[in-house]
Symmetry: C2
């Protein structure tokens, strides 16, 4: 397989949200596509390991919010690289509630779709949800959508591990000596400087990135160590 | 429904090809997305009215070629707006044959995927084909993919009638007097000038666009009259 070929497929970036009972969650997806126009139906591919997948399976409803090109790294970090089991992702983000009951993220987004699941298809590690679009809205007519290509190439972001398009690039890079060099969070751009450490989170100055505890996370967006790469 | 919101969903543009027995065909799609990474599986949504849909159903195989940003209008016109029942779409285009037996369009494309169908899902007007990617290739590493947004906004193209994302914009525009004004093919950019007519195809000078026969087609790409809009 040629990995570069996969990066030529065009995707946007979306926040997929769902609510079941009192539980609500959302995640970042690059896979949402219309499958019919009459009636308007849309499909998403959701990892079975994803907490939101469980909520969609229970509630049969979800919303899709289209991220804008200028979306804050913290927004992507919040939904893309933290688990809804650990944090309330909606505490600090603007959102509304839709007719289906799914929350709709409106901050950093340009349009949304309120979707009711009509069919599901088990495709292995993921579930394909097919849904009727029951309502939609345009928040910012002039804003451009954030594309995965822009995120990958310009913002140097990469797909979360649960994404259908995740590629473990570490398998394809050679081992190098990372002593005393800066590392950058691929989710939000935060730079870890070993000279400065991360004192607010108990990491003293002059701590190499490789010596950070395994559960250390990005102070800006909460992404794990595996989301960091050398600068 | 807010139609503008639909245009904020990001898509690429692809040539989907298939072969069954001696029959081969291809069409332009904007809906192809990876649904799992291990194994790599991809999904497409194909209109039941589409000849290629029938060939994929029979052969259980298809290829996806990613169109490049600089793809010729004639290529899009050939695959997007003509029927494979009327013309041999592969006669004048560079292509190869894949391991699954599907033809692979290489002209104007930057990468391809050879796909074997594993699951199908009837979603009404369309069939969702889920397929294992058995092989792929990168033709032009440096080229950018053609996105639907670029095609729609810059090239002023619109979705073919069988596309999952087709929107009949004529329902939303007011009637105007189109006497003696130029019309442009939204598929390839060809301009019909009523003063000049289309003598090579039996249309004398000073023939208004509205007076062209219903079966008149674009001399450049073969698109029908409904693909033309006022300049």
């Amino acid at each position: 397989m040629n990995l570069q070929a996969f990066f030529k497929i065009t995707y946007g970036l979306y926040v997929i949200s769902s609510k079941s009972g009192n539980k609500l969650n959302a995640y970042i997806a690059n896979t949402a596509f219309q499958v019919t126009s009459e009636p308007p139906q849309i499909a998403i591919s959701c990892s079975k390991d994803n907490y939101t997948c469980q909520l969609i399976s229970e509630s049969k409803a979800f919303s899709i919010s289209i991220l804008k090109k200028t979306a804050k790294p913290e927004t992507i970090g919040l939904f893309g690289y933290q688990s809804g089991k650990d944090v309330d992702k909606f505490e600090s983000i603007e959102h509304e509630y839709s007719a289906t009951g799914a929350p709709i993220v409106t901050e950093d987004c340009i349009a949304w779709f309120d979707c009711r699941v009509t069919k599901t298809l088990d495709v292995g590690s993921h579930i394909l949800f097919i849904a009727n679009i029951e309502n939609n809205g345009l928040i910012d007519k002039k804003a451009e959508p954030l594309t995965y290509a822009f995120y990958h190439e310009v913002k140097k972001g990469k797909a979360p591990k649960n994404a259908p398009t995740y590629i473990d690039e570490s398998k394809f890079t050679e081992t190098t000596d990372n002593t005393n060099i800066q590392h950058k969070c691929l989710a939000c751009g935060h730079v870890y400087d070993p000279e400065a450490g991360d004192p607010e989170n108990g990491i003293p100055p002059n701590t190499d990135f490789s010596d950070l505890p395994d559960d250390w996370t990005c102070p800006t967006c909460g992404a794990g160590k595996d989301m960091f790469d050398t600068v």
